[in-house]
Each structure stands twice: as C-alpha cells, then as structure tokens.
C-alpha cells in the first residue's frame, strides 16, 4: 500500500467503506439542559453498533431554547438502522423507555423525511384512553398524561433512506496515550459536524473487527491485523513502532456529512502530528465489495 506523508503523519492510500442505512431524527426537550441530556444519553445508550444493539444512535447537536419547538433546552438525536422495520422498532422502544420516562421531557420530529415513522401515534396508548390528540398548524401532537404532568410527543417523525453508516478512521500511534489523544481530539472536532454521530463510547472504538471467525456462528471477530500483540504471529498491518490503534466510526444523515466529518477528523489528527498523536492514519474497508460508499483518505486531506 502506498502512503503519503502530511505534517509527518503517514496517510495510507486506502478508503473507508460504508453502507447505506435508514435513519431518523428526533428532538428531545426538557425543563433544563441537564434533563434533556439525561434523556438523550439514556436513549442513545447501548446503541453503538447495529450488530448487537439493533441500531446506532447518538446526540447530533445540543439545541438552545431558541432552536427547539417548545422553547426549552433540548438536543437532536440521530438513530440509524439497517431496515425501516428495525428502525421503527428501536425508535419506539427507546423513546418509550427512555424519553417518555424522563422528567418533564417532550419529543418532536427532527427530520422531514420521505415517509413517516410512528412516534406519538404509537406511544399514545400509554395514555390508556386519556391521551389527547392536538393538531397545531400542520403538525400533529399527542399529549399523554403522566405523573409529572403531560408527555408531549409529535405523532410522527421522518425517515431518510440516504443515510450512511460505517465511515471510519484508524489512528495508529506509538503508545496508547498518543492513540487516545488523537482519537479524542478527532472525535471532538468530528462530532461538531451537524448530521453525524459517532456511535461508540466517546466516539472511539478499540475493538475493530474483521469479517468471519474460526468459531462457528461468529460473524465477526477481532481485527488481528491491527492488534499489536499479535504482530509476528499473524499477517499484521502494523509497523514495528505502532503499539496502539483506535478507530472512529461515523454515521451520517447523508454521504456528504460523513465525508465532511472524516475530513475534519483527518485535519485534526494531522495538525496534532506524529509526536503527540498518530504516526499513521488508515481506514477500514472490505475490499470495496460490500459497501455502497467509499471515502478515500487522499480525497479528504486538508
């Protein structure tokens, strides 16, 4: 693999391979910023990967009171899944268990999509007959009586089929501290791009996987080529000076925002340089056969 060097950081001539996904967005508000974030974090918890969680979800942006439909602090949450049915299922489970339950919360559509996904129009049954339907202008809300007043929830939100999941960057560093430093810095700049989420803890994932396993029934297993302790025993992708690799995975509403987030992450990592951060930056792919989208690192360089 040919690579080039920018500011002392090696950039592999490779690409991130990503997949088309279904996504939706909701806006969650609460009486205070604290409770808006509590609700949102709870709802987007255990949503790192579609493989084990059913969906990938995260907070897209925090919204100030002037940006929310009800004038309270809030945030916009993005949820990604592989099918419309699974997305609908995850959306209702998560809003029902984590937003409905959170003190003072309200939930609104966060996306004008090509088709509606049920939100309040399914959760309304919690009201046991006391739920109230209200149409204001062209929007439809449900008011569900709960112990601290009313849960206000828009009837539906929108679905997009042009979402992308699985954009990624791999940071290869001399030590774990340096890998963490570059991953943290990149995750921070990347999460500022609107319309993307980094679904893993703090945006960073350490257990990248390869397809297949020696064990029957395992569809994915550890990415041994990037595991430094296996260097010498397997066909390693790591040079002698690399001792830790961290990855950032990106899901975005559109392909453009995924590319923008990857470019922002690359820029941050390159600016940090090899002494404080990554010696080398790479990306994960499956040879280009599985995913519909390819993001070549050389096209995203600053």
């Amino acid at each position: 693999m040919q690579s080039m060097t920018v500011n002392g950081v090696l950039i592999d001539d490779t690409f991130a391979e990503a997949f088309g996904m279904r996504a939706t967005a909701i806006i969650v508000t609460a009486p205070t910023r604290k409770w808006a974030l509590e609700a949102a974090r709870s709802m987007t918890g255990f949503a790192t990967s579609v493989i084990g969680c059913g969906c990938e979800a995260g907070i897209d942006v925090e919204l100030s009171p002037s940006e929310t439909p009800d004038g309270r602090p809030g945030c916009r949450i993005l949820i990604f899944a592989v099918s419309t049915d699974e997305l609908q299922k995850q959306l209702l489970k998560r809003v029902g268990q984590c937003i409905l339950t959170s003190p003072g919360s309200a939930c609104f559509a966060g996306l004008e999509g090509i088709e509606p996904l049920k939100l309040g129009s399914a959760l309304r049954y919690f009201g046991d007959g006391w739920q109230i339907s209200k149409k204001i202008g062209d929007r439809h809300y449900w008011r569900i009586p709960v112990m601290d007043g009313e849960f206000v929830c828009e009837a539906t939100t929108g679905l997009t089929k042009s979402a992308v999941g699985g954009g990624n960057l791999l940071f290869l560093a001399r030590s774990h501290e340096q890998a963490l430093a570059v991953a943290e810095a990149a995750a921070e700049t990347m999460s500022k791009i609107e319309g993307v989420i980094l679904p893993f803890p703090g945006g960073v994932v350490r257990s990248g996987s390869k397809v297949g396993s020696k064990y029957k029934g395992m569809t994915a297993s550890t990415n041994d080529a990037y595991a430094p302790t296996l260097r010498g025993q397997v066909e390693s992708a790591l040079d002698a000076d690399v001792n830790a690799v961290l990855e950032i995975v990106i899901d975005g509403e559109t392909s453009e925002v995924v590319a923008a987030a990857m470019a922002a992450g690359l820029r941050t990592a390159i600016e940090l340089g090899p002494e404080r951060g990554a010696l080398r930056i790479s990306a994960g792919n499956y040879g280009g056969k599985l995913g519909k989208f390819q993001y070549h690192l050389k096209d995203l360089l600053p």
Binding site: D70, A106, K134, G137, R143, E150
Partner: protein
Amino acid sequence: MSGLTFTLLSEPPERLDLSPLTPQKLAGTRRREIEKIRLGLSKRGLAVGDLFRVSGDAGETIVFEGGSSRFDGVGAGMSGGEIRVGGDVGTQAGCKMAGGTILIEGSAGPYAGSGMSGGRLEIRGSAGDFAGGPLAGEMAGMSGGILIIRGRAGHRAGDRMRRGLLAVLDGCGDYAGSRMIAGTLVVLGRAGHMPGYLLRRGTLLLDQLPQSLSPSFVESGEWDSAFAPLINRHLISEGILEAPLLQKGTTRFCGDNAVLGKGEILLAAGG
C-alpha cells in the same frame, strides 16, 4: 397579482348568494360572462352586472369594494386564492371553504366559516351565532383551517367543531364550543354562560372566567405542560396573540362530564 374587483354600486335590494364568485369558479371566465352570473335570490334574478362594477381579470384574488349584510355565502366552498371584502357580509361566509384566505373587513352574520375544512377566514368585526358550526342537519362543524373573529362572536361559536382553530378576540355569547367533538377554540375577552356545553373532546382557551362555568366541568388544578409554548407560539405566529397566553398558573378544567368528558377548558393565569 391578477384578480377581479367587484365594486358595489348601491345597497343590494335583496339577499345575494355570492358563492359563485370564488377564484376557482371564475377561473378562465371572461368579464362579460361574469357579469351575467345570477346572484339574487328572489324572482328578480339580479346578476353581477346589476350590482357591481367589475374590473380586472379572473385570477387568484377577488376584492369586493363595499359590503352589505346581504352578502351571503362569500367565498363558500373556495379552495384557494384570496377574497377580501371591504365591508360587512351576511350569513355563511367561507362556508365549507377548504383552502385559501378570506378577509372580511366588516362584520359577518351567522354561520361564518360553517363546516370549513381548511384555509383561513378572518373577520375584522364581529360574527353572528354558530361561527364555525354546522348547518341544520349536518353532523359536524368546522373540521380544519383557521377562523379568526377579531370582534365579538355570537352564541355557540364552534358548535360541533371537529378540528382546526377558532379564535374570538373580543368575547362571545353563551355556550361557546357547544357539543364540540375536538379542535381548539380560543376566546379572549369575556365568554358568556357555560362555555364547552356538552363538549366531548377539544380545548377551550379562555383568558378570563366566563359568565358561568358549567357544573359538569371539574377543576384539575394548575396545568404546566410543554404543550403550552407550542400553542402560544402558534397563536402568536397566526397574529392572534401578541404575547403568550398560557403561562405558569393556568388552570385546567376537564369536561364536559355530562358527556364523554375528555375535553378541557384552560383558563389563563389571572383570568
């Protein structure tokens, strides 16, 4: 913007049915043909040309220069475009309208916005009884759209309303929102006796106590909901309110418990 102007020549000698004069019905009609449209309801059969001087060409807007309480059915059944009346109108203004806007600069008679399902009807003056209500024999009143009465409304405004927004800005008669099925009725200024009489579902917003409150509405205490800012914002954006109406201290009454009991009266703080 292209459109027609009908200038009233003198007070009409009989009641008129102006429902043929909507942007949809006149689309593509030449002025000479328009002048032949019959409007009078008596055997005299007055036509447009006998009553109005017509200018302009058929288009999106229709303007009536001058008005009369004999102008019945203004904009009835319209689905788009704009009608403005520079005076009073009679009964059934905007009856069954589905879209577009009607502005009446004077007052309207009974059944204004009766059965409307969309669009916006604004009456600068007052309106008669049964604003937004059903005509005799009909099962439901207005089912969508926005009806604004900047003056006073008569009795039973919003009777059997199903959906939509009806706002009365200077008080109303008795039994506002009677038999309401759902929807939102805002009354600023004093409402008469027993608003929400036999209301099944729907919301009545009052800024002050009505003359009397039906005993079959029960108080459910102070109402604090994220829904309040939504409705405040909508009413402000529609030019109905200048400042939020539902603030802390709003009282909610549930009813009418003589019937289904799933409606509510929201009484603004200090009201």
